[in-house]
Each structure stands twice: as C-alpha cells, then as structure tokens.
C-alpha cells in the first residue's frame, strides 16, 4: 500500500481505537496500555519476525527503561520537571545496554541464544532487586508525581482529561487522558520508523540473511552486525515501552524485569502475527483485553490466552516465521547500459606470484582427518583442477579455503594475507568467492534479485547502517549484477523465480552469485554435475572465459572437461595430495590411475579372466 494511504489509515485507526473498544468492555486506559506495551512488542517482532532471533530477555530493557525513567524524575534530575528527559535517558540507557548485550549474544543461535538472553535478564532482575538503595528493591517505586509534557513555554499535564463529549455506545471523550494521544503519536512514529526500516537497505539485507544466512555470509554480508543492529533497535523500542509504562502509571516494580514479562512479549507478538507491522499491536490488544476485561470475569483468562497461543502456532501455514515478506521498494534499475566494471583481461595473464598459498593444511572431524597436511600453491590467473575419488576431501578443502569451515592445523595465505582465521565475509571482501556443490541461492527470489544481493554486498561492504534509505549506488549494483548474469548467459532469465529453474540453471545462478562479488579467485565445486552434454560444453566455454579474468579452482569428476580446460591438476586421495602436475603428467601418472580407476590404465579395458581370480 502506498505511503500516504498507510499514514492516513493508521492515524485514523489510532484516533478511533479507544472508543471502538468501548462496546466490548474496553476503556481508554486500556487502549493507552495496549499502545505502550505494543511498542515493546513491535521491538520484539523486529527480533523474532525479521531477524529470526527468539530473545527470552526483553524484560531487562523494559524494566530498566521504566526504572531509569522514574528515577530520572525522582532522583537523577528532579529539578528538571519534564517528561522528555526521563524518556530520553531511559531510551539511551536501554539502547546502549542492548548494543553491548547484543554484541555478546548474537553469535549464538536457537535455544542457546534464548537462554543467554534469559540469563542476562535474570541478572538485571537480580541487580534491580538487590540495589535497594536505588530501586527500593522489592517495594518498587511508587507514589511519584509524573512531570508534565513541556514544549517551551507550553506545558501539558498528561493525566488531565479531554473535555466532556458523549459518544453514545463508544463512551465519553472525558474518559480519555492526554496520555492516550501522547502514546498514540509516539506509536505512530514507531510504526513509521519500523516500516521505513524494514524497507530500507538494512531491512532488505536482514531479510536476505533470514532467508539464507550461509549464502549471505558468503556473498560478503556480516550477519552478526545486522543482528546486533536489530537487537539494539529492539532494545531501544522495548526500553521506550517500559519508560512510557512507568511514567504513565507513575510506579514500577521488579516484576517488570522478570521472566513472565519477557514471556509476555513473546505471547503478544506471536498471537498477533509475527513478521507483520500491526501484528504485535493486535496481539498485545488481544492479550491485554483478555487479562483486564475477561480477567475480571473469570480466572480462566490465562488458560484461554495459552490456548490461543498454541492454536496460532499450530494453525499458521508453512511455519510460523515464513509469512508475507515486506514489499520491496522498486529499485531504480538502469540495466544494460554503461557496462564494464570488470577487467576484460588480467594485468598479468599468468603471473609469477602465487595468489594462494596453503601450508600443511589439515581439517579433522573428531578423529577423522578429512584433509591432511596439504600443501598447495596457485599462481594468479591459473585454472587449477582438484580431482580425486569421492570422499577424498576436495569439498572439505574448498570449504576451509572459503571459510565455511575452520582449519584444524596449517595456514592459508591469499594475496599475501594470512586468512586462516579470517571470517567468511572478510574473505569475500578480499576476493575469495565460492560456488556451492549444491546450488545455494535465495529460494524465494528471482534470478536477478539473487545476483543483485551479491552485487550489493560487493558495493556497500559487510555492513552499512543504512536504516532509513533504500539501497543507494543502485546503478553500480545493477550493472555488476547484470555483468554477472551475462557471463553466465542468464540475462534472459532475470525475472524467473528460483523455484522455476532447472537444476543446471540453479547451478549457473550459484556461480553468477559468486561472480557478482567480483572475486579474484573463484572456487567452483562440481560445476557441471548433473548437466547434459550440451550444458557441459556451454559451461566449458564459460569457464575458459572466466579463466582469462581471474584465478579459478575447480573440483570436478568429468575427466574430459578437466583435461582440456586446466592449466594444472592437483589430485587428492584420502585427504592428502597424491599428485600434482599438468594434465599430460597426470594422465600418465600410474599412481593416479591406480587410485582413481581401481588399478587400470586409462583407456585400457581389463581382460575378463584376469579379474575373476
């Protein structure tokens, strides 16, 4: 929906909300609470729905926000009689807290992440509980006079009510405190902010990371930084929520930091619909309504809440977290014109300096050595094939080179840099790109969008805090993407969705994605596996073209292809280097033939009798 319509509808909704709920037993105070808590839920949704992180500790930001806000009024700056300072301090505090905790926690996943956030929340609970001198511990803070809302000379007591006006079944205007419009305006701002955020470059990349984190890492995005940003923003919003709640009820207690409060945010968001903009508000509304209106009538309200929660999770189609994606901003694409961001020829076609040096590389899985003491040198511009029987360690070797796996022993030098411990995104930035054996692409995107994401990573780097704008330098990105597609002869299929691609086309797309990162060395893992003879020939031509522009390493089984294409060949067997040399040398190598072909000379067929001994 277009922006103006969105703003109008949202504004109308917020205006009407406190009255619309009147016929079902709601009241404006409830509406205020729902909005305030909803802001926290929206923050949580950013984590769960958009970043895919289940945090079980949001209460720490909520509670700290409420305490800091109230303490600002009573203790820190009692002379400043303004609500703005309280809100500001609370939000800043929560944001810094979230950044620090986020930096430490996002390296974990799933249950480990949830438990660590819980652990931190419990620690904050404990601190607040024990620090009686500051927080009054168990008693909490209460009986505070809330400061008014001040803007220059003009000041508004938020607890004052609107003038009297009867609205029939929808209540009376004078039931509404000024807290409601205040909260509503802030909520409106939050909604706009999150909407813009989700459609920004940051939001787009965050969504890509959610869709395929591994691929995103290996086109050059650093997922950790994106997740830390999400965690920080979520903490900021949750802190704001807590501060507003504390100020609006002029009291707070330690239970604002407890596990149930964290649990509440989970429930609000899930019930309302994860990964939607209004879902968290809806969920908060439903649950808060249950608690305060239904709860007044029956003790079973929490049971009902639990049942709704379970029902929502079970009934949601295709998994809880796979709902409608945010609409992408139409990007300004200038396709096909003003090309050339790629050198057509390398400065030195086959230079002398090795671009890649591997020393005594080993990789163990438990006691099993998948790669064992491998030494390997590749010159710039070389096309090197790595061959060997299945299980020889070829893919593991490539994975260690690319950074998917760590090395157990040994070292890797690329262009002189020691990249042995370097994380994936940095290697991609340096110029190491890998195409996967099983095509690893963004399954819900089109061909062009896939390649574009890789190009975006190349152009803008591992992380850019571009929260409010759509991607910039789009021409450059589009050009780079288009070049990659052209090289792989996929330009005609730009708009095809990945799901509609053939197996061979998906593999080519995977290679195109790797190319869009402008690598200096390209690792191809069985690029022609599963292809027909014609496709193989096409790929052969393609690889000759690539070999002119960059260094290429290929794992392959297709001996004809390898023999004709490679400058040199390395043979791996049981994790070790068995032989290395030119295609002619390898062809003549008896040891290689023994191992690869079970002891028979190539081209020579065994005598039947000789074998059935």
């Amino acid at each position: 929906m277009n922006n103006r319509l969105f703003y109008i509808l949202t504004a109308l909704g917020l205006i009407v909300f406190p009255f619309a709920i009147h016929p079902i037993g709601g009241y404006p105070g409830l509406a205020t609470d729902i909005l305030i808590l909803g802001i926290g839920a929206i923050g949580f949704n950013l984590l769960l729905g958009y970043a895919g992180l289940l945090s079980y500790g949001q209460a720490m930001f909520y509670g700290v926000g409420s305490y800091v806000a109230l303490l600002t009024v009573t203790r820190f700056f009692p002379q400043v009689h303004s609500i703005w300072l309280a809100l500001l301090l609370a939000v800043v505090f929560a944001t810094v807290m979230a950044f620090v905790i986020g930096a430490v926690t996002v390296r974990l996943y799933g249950i480990y992440f949830a438990l660590l956030t819980l652990a931190f929340a419990q620690m904050f609970f404990f601190i607040v509980f024990q620090w009686r001198s500051l927080t009054r511990g168990d008693d909490g803070l209460q009986g505070i006079t809330a400061p008014p809302l001040s803007l220059g000379p003009w000041s508004l007591d938020l607890t004052a009510t609107l003038p009297d006006l009867n609205l029939g079944p929808f209540g009376n205007l004078h039931d509404v405190h000024y807290w409601y419009p205040f909260a509503a305006i802030i909520t409106f701002g939050v909604l706009i902010f999150v909407r813009v955020l989700v459609r920004s470059q940051y939001g787009e990349i965050l969504a890509a990371i959610r869709e395929n984190e591994e691929r995103s890492t290996f086109v050059g995005f650093d997922p950790k930084l994106y997740k830390i940003a999400a965690f920080t923003i979520a903490g900021m919003l949750t802190g704001l929520s807590g501060a507003l709640k504390g100020l609006s009820q002029t009291a707070t207690a330690v239970d604002s930091l407890d596990i149930d409060t964290s649990g509440n945010f989970v429930i609000f968001t899930v019930v309302g619909g994860v990964k939607t903009l209004f879902g968290p508000l809806l969920g908060t509304g439903i649950v808060w309504y249950l608690q305060n209106v239904i709860g007044g009538k029956t003790d079973a309200w929490r049971l009902i809440e639990g049942l709704i929660f379970v029902a929502v999770i079970v009934l949601l189609p295709a998994g809880l977290l796979g709902i409608r994606q945010p609409a992408r901003l139409p990007y300004d694409v200038d396709r096909g014109r003003g090309r050339r961001s790629y050198p057509s020829q390398l400065p030195d076609v086959v230079g002398d300096e090795p671009i890649l040096v591997v020393k005594s590389l080993s990789r163990y899985f438990g006691k099993f050595a998948a790669v064992s003491d491998v030494n390997f040198r590749v010159r710039t511009g070389e096309l090197r094939a790595v061959i060997g029987p299945n299980g020889a360690g070829k893919t593991t070797f490539f994975n260690v080179l690319a950074g998917l796996l760590g090395a157990s022993e040994g070292a890797i030098y690329f262009k002189g840099h020691d990249i042995t411990r370097m994380p994936g995104p940095q290697r991609v930035a340096l110029g190491v790109a890998k195409a996967f054996q099983t095509a690893n692409v963004y399954p819900d995107e089109t061909v062009f969008q896939n390649v574009r994401l890789a190009a975006l990573a190349r152009v803008q780097g591992m992380f850019r805090p571009e929260f409010l704008r759509a991607s910039r330098r789009l021409d450059e990105v589009a050009e780079l993407a288009h070049d990659a597609l052209e090289m792989l002869d996929l330009a005609s299929m730009s708009e095809v969705r990945v799901g509609d691609l053939s197996h061979g086309d998906k593999k080519r797309l995977d290679i195109a994605v790797a190319l869009a990162t402008q690598p200096e060395i390209l690792l191809l893992d069985e690029p022609v596996a599963g292809m027909s003879i014609e496709e193989v020939q096409k790929t052969d031509r393609l690889m000759r073209g690539l070999a002119k522009r960059m260094t290429v390493l290929i794992i392959e089984h297709d001996m004809d292809l390898i023999m004709g294409l490679s400058d040199s060949i390395t043979v791996l067997h049981q994790g070790k280097v068995l032989a290395e040399g030119t295609p002619a040398e390898i062809r003549a190598n008896r040891l290689v033939q023994e191992v690869y072909l079970g002891g028979h000379l190539q081209g020579e067929l065994p005598d039947v009798k000789e074998h059935k001994t």
């Binding site: 438990g366 006691k367 099993f368 029987p389 299945n390 299980g391 020889a392 799901g499 509609d500 053939s502 197996h503 998906k506 069985e526 596996a529 599963g530 292809m531 027909s532 003879i533 089984h557 297709d558 001996m559 004809d560 049981q574 023994e594 191992v595 072909l597 079970g598 002891g599 028979h600 190539q602 081209g603 067929l605 065994p606 039947v608 074998h611 059935k612």
Partner: protein, 245 residues
C-alpha cells in the same frame, strides 16, 4: 514382445523392477521415467557419471525418497513410497554411499543392532568374524575409530547379518585404497555366490564390470543403455559418450 507365458515366468524370476519411475528433489526432476529390472541371484550394476541419478534410484527403491509416479516392484509387491523400515524388514538392504556407521556404537554393537532389528536370521556373528577377521579385531572399537576400509566391511556385514534378499550397494569401492577395492570386489562375489541378489551403483566402472552380470547406464535420470559387461566393453561409443572413458 514376449508372450504371456514367458512374461509370467519372468515375473517369478524378477526380484526387483522399476517401471517409469519419476523422482523429484523439491522441484528438481531427477529420475525421468526410469525403468530397470533385477532378476533373482543376479548382480546388476548401475553406471553413470556423478549426479545422473544413480544414488537417487537406490534411495527411491528403498523408500528414502519416495517417487512421484511409477512402480517399484519388489518380490511382486509394489513398494513405491513404502517406508524404509518396512522395506528393510521385507528383505531389502541399502549400504549407503557414506556407509553411515554409528560412530557412538562399537563395531560389535553396530552388528548387534542389525541383528536386533532384522525379522529374519542372516549371517551369525561367527560367520561375520570368520569372513571379516579385521572386524573381530576391532569389535570393541567405536565406529569412528576404524579405517575407511573397515567401515565399508562393517557396512556390508550389517546387510549380511540381516539376511536380506536384495542388497543395494552405493559406490562400495569409493575412496578406498586399491588393495581394499580388491577385497570388496571379492566380498561381493562371495555374496553373489550364496544366491543373494545385488544391485550396485558404481563410478569405478572397471570394478563394477568385474562382478556384474548385467549393466545399466543412467544419464540425466533415465536408462540409456543395458547390456552385459562384455557387450559394454565392446561399445566404445557408449563408453565415451556416457562414461567419458
């Protein structure tokens, strides 16, 4: 076309038959109207380059990846899409490409598990240790403490212990040193001589030719060639086109 009588006779002879099987991985169409037949006590080899669908064919037979259409007839019954567990109990064993030895169990426990889950008696442990003395030496070692060749022996021994009628071998010589390759070929011949039917997938087609009675070549998900090892050896056109030899 064969007469009805001949076909009826063939039915009893045939232990496994695939009829126009189509298997998909998600949207990828891997097996395209694949048909083949294995007779009782036969050893049939499935050859072809990497990624052509050979492993998928075995997985389809055994129920690991159900076909979208087509028939899989085992001992007369259509088992297409039937569960792995049921097929195993009916006497169908798969020795997978990656062996899949239980690394948290000892060699002896790996064998005992195969005994426990099998509804019929196959080789006894004594028989196994007699034929595979190295496994007896390693009986107490955990699955991740034995060599690649020993893992392959163990994987095959598990199938023997289950007394299966049809053993599917996925690349049994893959990644093994040449000496061990010989041993595996010899074991396969022993299994064959006891009357068990074998369908094996092999990249190393020389190994396959050494043991097979008949060969199929799979390319791009369908059968392109069927013949005996002698016929295949003589057919240089097929060899170069499909196997790149």
């Amino acid at each position: 076309m064969t007469s009805a009588a001949t076909m009826a006779a063939n039915q009893n002879e045939t232990l496994l038959e695939l009829e126009n099987v189509n298997t998909f991985y998600g949207d990828s169409h891997i097996l395209k109207n694949l048909s083949l037949r294995v007779k009782r006590a036969e050893t049939v080899a499935l050859l072809g380059r990497n990624g052509m669908g050979k492993t998928t064919a075995l997985k389809t037979i055994v129920g690991w990846v159900p076909p979208r259409s087509g028939k899989v007839l085992f001992d007369g019954a259509d088992i297409a899409g039937r569960e792995m567990m049921e097929n195993a109990r009916a006497g169908l064993s798969l020795v997978p490409e990656d062996r899949r030895i239980f690394t948290n169990l000892s060699v002896a426990e790996n064998l005992r598990l195969a005994q426990v889950t099998a509804p019929r008696a196959g080789w006894s442990l004594t028989d196994v240790y007699a034929r595979f003395p190295r496994l007896e030496e390693r009986a107490r070692n955990k699955g991740d403490e034995i060599s690649g060749g020993e893992k392959q022996m163990l994987a095959i021994a598990r199938a023997l212990v289950q007394g299966s009628k049809l053993i599917l071998l996925d690349e049994p010589t893959e990644g093994l040193a040449p000496l061990i390759v010989r041993e595996v070929e010899s074991i396969i011949r022993d299994i064959k001589s006891q009357g068990t039917t074998i369908l094996l997938v092999e990249q190393n087609f020389y190994s396959a030719l050494a043991v097979a009675d008949r060969c199929y070549i799979v390319d791009q998900g369908t059968i392109r060639y069927e013949g005996t090892p002698d016929e295949l050896r003589g057919n240089t056109e097929v060899l170069s086109r499909y196997l790149h030899v």
